[in-house]
Symmetry: C2
Subunit: 394 residues, 2 copies
Amino acid sequence: MINAPSPIFSSPLYLSGASISDFGELWDRSLESLIEHVIEESLRTAQLEKKDIDAVVVANMSAGQFEGQSHLGALVSSMFPQFPPAIRVEGACASGGLALLTAEQYILSGTYQRVLVIGAEKMTDVSAQETTDILAGASHVIEESLATFPALYALLAKEHMREYGTTRENLVSIAVKNHHHAMNNPHAQFHKEITIEDVLKSPMVADPLRLLDCSPISDGASAVVISSDSHRAQARIAGFGHAQDSLTLAGRSSLTSFEATSRATKQALSRTEAKIAEFDAYELHDCFTIAEIFAIEDIGLCKKGASQAYIENHSDKLNKSGGLKGCGHPVGATGVKQVAFLAQQIELGIIERGFAQNIGGAGATAVVHCVEPAKVNENKGIVKNTRIKKSEKK
Amino acid sequence: MINAPSPIFSSPLYLSGASISDFGELWDRSLESLIEHVIEESLRTAQLEKKDIDAVVVANMSAGQFEGQSHLGALVSSMFPQFPPAIRVEGACASGGLALLTAEQYILSGTYQRVLVIGAEKMTDVSAQETTDILAGASHVIEESLATFPALYALLAKEHMREYGTTRENLVSIAVKNHHHAMNNPHAQFHKEITIEDVLKSPMVADPLRLLDCSPISDGASAVVISSDSHRAQARIAGFGHAQDSLTLAGRSSLTSFEATSRATKQALSRTEAKIAEFDAYELHDCFTIAEIFAIEDIGLCKKGASQAYIENHSDKLNKSGGLKGCGHPVGATGVKQVAFLAQQIELGIIERGFAQNIGGAGATAVVHCVEPAKVNENKGIVKNTRIKKSEKK
């Protein structure tokens, strides 16, 4: 399939200005004001000015439906005096991860040096029913639109329970853990510990998933600068991966794993030479509790069906931000927030290496990032080869 | 602002498999079937198989609103057995141009070798009023949403008339010319010559723009393969440019030109070393007749206010496809179709070099491409420097 020799890159992808707004039901904030906030915060943290930004990539799933506003690239570019080139990228709940990937391509191609990536979504200004309908657009609307997302994930949960003996308690432990982690995140939507009992008593949404198995509907934004120069950068992207699977569950080869997650992870790891167990923090896409179990297994932290023991022994490493469940899930913001959070943790010296997994729909799109310190061991781990080896392609 | 030396690239961006569906009111076709059609046609023309495609970029403005379907990247990826990485890109009516740019970055970065770019929009399944509302999302909805797009362009037309003495007849001549060109395009929405009288008698939409000054509401799709290898390629991207301006007209420094078009054109030309007058065909974004006058002047074919004489002498070069007015304007497809059309014209030996200008909203986003033969003079004109010289930045 590929005839030409793989080009070798040594371009670094430095991260600075990681910024995360409060996540939650922010009825006093507009989409624009959330974006303006993270731009300001990001540039202040990075010690950059607006004029230093060469291009902007905006991640957003559905502002067209939530508030009739398309053309967000131009909207955000208009917040800068020089009107930098800007683009909006969408891949449902993986929009944020895809926006980071797009910015990385801009830099690795040599077209731009400093790209501001913004993820944002304002979801709480419409009814919960409207939001559910809009989010259903992340599935195949003609073939699967009778099922809501909780129903699709409920089906996956049941399959996982049947095949691996996963229990309701296993699912619940994810929700309890992520609410616990969110207590330490000032931007999180929830600052409330929950118990196993709370989850088991919460209203049923789609059997076996109850309300507290589901990530909330959220407003929020996040931003980070990706740059080829190391100005103020304490972290960098050391690896990225992007894979897809069938949009419909009917087209999948498995209903107990997300193959796109596994393939994206292999790509990212092959770029860094890191092993999956070597990260100190894993931001995983827990839109539902079952999704974190899938993620832990599919990125390769443990064998299929063995996540419970892994979670018990490594609770502190899994979704330290609170994840989507505890921190909130403004869909376009989530993928950017995962990487921004890891960059902040590295800057604070809390972790050395972080891993982020962001998916769209029921795992049809998967984007994975490895985040490492900018300055330690400069010759090792820089993105060396952006093209994946043949053997790792499906 | 930029400290590091500019990297020099010699990566070619070859074009093959240019495909354009019929444009029109295609009530018997779904968005998916249009996309499937151009994928099949594109691969057949390029003599490639689905498995040869490394990644897919989809341009679409508003499938979320038109049919509740987001996550088009995953939808299209699912049409391929290997589920290639896929992304959707949006910049209102410039979505197609931005998707081409994104694919170019993927290739110039070395991440992928063969990227299929698809532009598609299905607009006629909702009422004209709903379509008008959805398209208004390309403007700043809070600040300008009381104005429809015809109203915004009517304002620009009046300003141009006032400042340069542009007449109704000047506008009309664009519509007559583009309907005439569309007679030769089998995929065009309209195969009907119109007269000056027809335009002047058509219903008023927003003074001075009448119905026949406006591009139609259309369904359609287009695709092209961008590749770093020259397999079956007869054309290539020799230059690209991307610039923005204020999303609101109130924020512009001029209401009689689109500065983003001028800046994007300068970028693209600086990459090819071609002069603007040296192209044989110009595909220009004539969403309204006044927009083609802006385009002719803003890309630099003539001085401001002098377009009428230019059009009279170069009618055959301007929107040979019929443009948006005669060929139709399925918004996500248009930017891809412009470049696909030029690649086809080069393959057929009708033109040697083509130029495409694609804008979003009322010119807030501008994307420009220079298309040249793949094989003539291999050492000249290859994209050499993707970064723009400082002097050409605003």
